[in-house]
């Protein structure tokens, strides 16, 4: 499976949010210039970020025969908050538009509508494996011949509510930064008309320890890489995991600097395609032990 387009909206600006009596740094993304005023008014922030990334990945490729797979760890948190505000006093005043915007796959269906993607479509949500699950599903759709190609994206917003609620449980243990952003790949099967930027190989998923993940990578991918890339939130445990991966596979390890974006794997995938290294291992692992990995190889 080859990558013929990439797009990303990465966080840049640091902002501070008060959480549990202390100030918490969050990384915000600027609204992309490719988003028009009408789109910005009508879309939730996760949809808007993902749309910008998808537009960039799609470029001038025709949408005929394409589907979409979109991962989001938390969906439209702000829309959910708005839909719930007042619900407990007056359920008859819930806004239909806030309700519709709060539906978890709103970003995937909005992008499909705006980019005329009529092929297979899905939204996946699995905390920080959200993008990887969307990617695995998309690879199978192309592999089974159900789609000519797939836009695969991840998106998450950071809101004061989300930052506060996540931070309350995590800050006690380790300092982490929360971010937002979206990344997208255009995947096509071999023989696509557009040139290949990279090839996705050996997608694997499972559950277990970091050693189980390393063993699975060796078994399925051979273990020879020029770079290991993962996302970064600043936690000690994840840094230890990354170090272990690097030592065991004898390869330098790098992390994206987006902070904790649940679907940050999408930014990892884009960074892997853009990196100068020829063969890059991308991986992600959740606290419940679920993991996914794949390699990005340049022509």
């Amino acid at each position: 499976m080859i990558v013929t387009g990439v797009g990303a909206v990465a966080p840049t600006a640091l902002e501070e949010v008060r959480a549990d009596g202390r100030m918490l740094a969050v990384k915000r993304a600027a609204t992309p210039a490719t988003i028009g005023a009408r789109e910005a008014r009508r879309l939730t922030r996760p949809s808007l970020l993902a749309l910008a990334a998808c537009k960039e990945a799609l470029g001038d490729a025709p949408s005929e025969g394409l589907g979409i797979a979109l991962g989001s760890g938390f969906g439209a948190c702000e829309a959910t908050r708005l839909a719930l505000e007042g619900l407990f006093e007056r359920a008859d005043l819930v806004s239909p538009s806030h309700f519709v915007a709060s539906v978890r796959h709103e970003a995937a269906s909005s992008i499909a509508r705006m980019l005329s993607l009529r092929g297979p479509a899905v939204a996946a949500s699995a905390r920080r494996l959200s993008f990887e699950q969307a990617l695995g599903w998309a690879l199978r759709q192309i592999g089974r011949g159900r789609a000519r190609g797939m836009l695969v994206a991840g998106t998450d917003e950071v809101t004061p509510l989300l930052a506060r609620s996540l931070a309350r449980s995590r800050l006690r243990r380790e300092p982490i930064a929360f971010g937002e952003g979206a990344g997208a790949l255009l995947l096509e099967s071999e023989g696509a008309s557009r040139p290949a930027l990279a090839r996705i190989e050996g997608f694997l998923e499972g559950a277990g320890s970091i050693d189980d993940l390393i063993a699975a990578v060796r078994r399925r991918l051979g273990g020879r890489f020029d770079l290991i890339l993962t996302d970064e939130e600043g936690s000690d445990r994840r840094r230890a995991d990354a170090l272990r991966m690097g030592e065991e596979l004898a390869c330098p390890t790098r992390a994206t600097d987006s902070g904790y974006v649940a679907s940050g794997g999408s930014l990892v995938a884009v960074a892997a395609v853009r990196a100068p290294e020829k063969r890059v291992l991308c991986y992600a692992r959740e606290v419940d032990g679920a993991f996914a990995a794949y390699s990005v190889t340049k022509p």
Binding site: A19, S109, S169, A290
Partner: protein, 390 residues
């Protein structure tokens, strides 16, 4: 290598019963599980008629970690998964996949977080309640509860979520990536969904009447449905073969169905292609048909184009309600039961529009192939093709 895939276990928690057999017996009897909402209040609204789950079994032996701070939806789904695994006669799920669909998931508990946050401030709300709004929570807990150590996934395309879950699980088993997969979904009623659908004015006043010329909307429900998929040849007495999976996006509107039914048609044709099956071989369709004016009309048009030979059609939502993220798996389970038992489920008296052969009372008829269709908000349409077990 491609393996044949069979359904070997089914677990159900529905408004019709807390297990598979009670639910199926109720469906065959044509009993409706509808009553005014009791689970929570909706201030400013009259309690809508819903399909609410009563009590359901809480089995011993589930690790405490899987249940700590769990949502009602999590617990319903664990109960359904335990029943499905026992039904399949599996003693170990080492390496098994766990693929679920969810829409509301644990939003009922998430709403309590927001209630505290709005009233007392976010720093005073109980963080663990917010876990419910993470859709992946249920798959994580089911995998932990049952020791499923293979791949996990959660799909969230509203009413077609768990149909996607079954389709993905089919791909995992068919390709040989896993030998066993738990697949399905769970969704509990919550204030947000109830108030939201009422705001959209597509909830029936007295109970839904799919395909009826006087239909007036859907009946919200809740359920958990889990199916065990295995490579063919491993199982003793499978319910059915899962032959094909197809999906398409209407790319039409945020909530309204494309009146041409093109998305539904594309999904069905994709699933038939995946199953390498001619449409004329299909003898029964478990339709999505929630009872809304737009959806049922568009779906009828799609069915008429794909299935010109006029197979039997019913929407069992007339009995168990529209269970959102669980609907695809619940209706797939009903389709599998119909194939194995040789009974096509009915949907009650219907003054149907058009030429669809709507099954009103359960019909004693054995068919070889059946389709379960799930359509969703945003036009995320999914079809699954099943075949009678050999």
């Amino acid at each position: 290598m491609s393996h044949d895939v069979v359904v070997t276990g089914i677990g159900l928690v529905t408004a019709l019963g807390a297990d598979r057999e009670t639910t199926w017996a109720s469906i065959l009897a044509g009993r409706r599980g509808f009553a005014p909402l009791r689970l929570f209040d909706l201030p400013g609204r009259e309690a809508p008629v819903v399909a609410e789950v009563g009590s359901f079994p809480r089995k011993k032996g589930v690790p405490k970690r899987a249940l700590r701070a769990s949502s009602r939806t999590d617990r319903m789904t664990i109960a359904a998964a335990l029943e499905a695994v026992a039904d399949a006669g599996l003693s170990s799920l080492a390496g098994a996949a766990c693929v679920l669909g969810a829409s509301s998931a644990g939003m009922l508990e998430g709403e309590e977080y927001f209630r505290h946050a709005f009233e007392e401030g976010h720093d005073h709300a109980r963080r663990e309640l917010l876990g419910g709004i993470e859709a992946a929570s249920t798959a994580s807990r089911v995998a932990l509860a049952l020791g499923a150590t293979g791949p996990r996934a959660t799909f969230t395309t509203a009413c077609s979520s768990s149909a996607h879950a079954l389709g993905h699980a089919l791909d995992l088993v068919r390709s040989g990536e896993v030998e066993v997969a738990l697949a399905g979904g769970g969704d509990g009623l919550c204030r947000l969904a109830a108030a939201g659908f009422l705001a959209l004015e597509n909830v029936s006043r007295a109970g839904c009447r799919p395909f009826d010329k006087d239909r007036d909307g859907m009946t919200l429900g809740e359920a958990a449905a889990v199916l065990v998929l295995e490579r063919a040849g491993r199982a003793r007495r499978p319910y059915a073969r899962l032959l094909g999976y197809g999906s398409a996006c209407e790319a039409f509107h945020a909530t309204a169905t494309d009146p041409t039914g093109r998305g539904a048609e594309d999904a069905i044709r994709a699933a038939l292609t995946d199953a390498a099956l001619d449409s004329r071989a299909v003898g029964y369709v478990n339709a999505h048909a929630p009872g809304t004016r737009d959806n049922d009309g568009a779906e009828s048009a799609a069915l008429a184009r794909v299935f010109a030979h006029g197979p039997a059609v019913s929407s069992t939502k007339a009995l168990h309600g529209h269970t959102l993220g669980a609907a695809g798996a619940l209706e797939a389970a009903v389709t599998c039961l119909a194939l194995r038992e040789g009974w096509l489920p009915g949907q009650g008296k219907t003054h149907a529009e058009g030429a669809i052969d709507v099954v009103e009372a359960a019909r004693d008829k054995r068919v070889e192939h059946a389709v379960s269709l799930s359509l969703a908000f945003g036009g995320n349409d999914v079809a699954l093709v099943f075949g009678a077990a050999p």
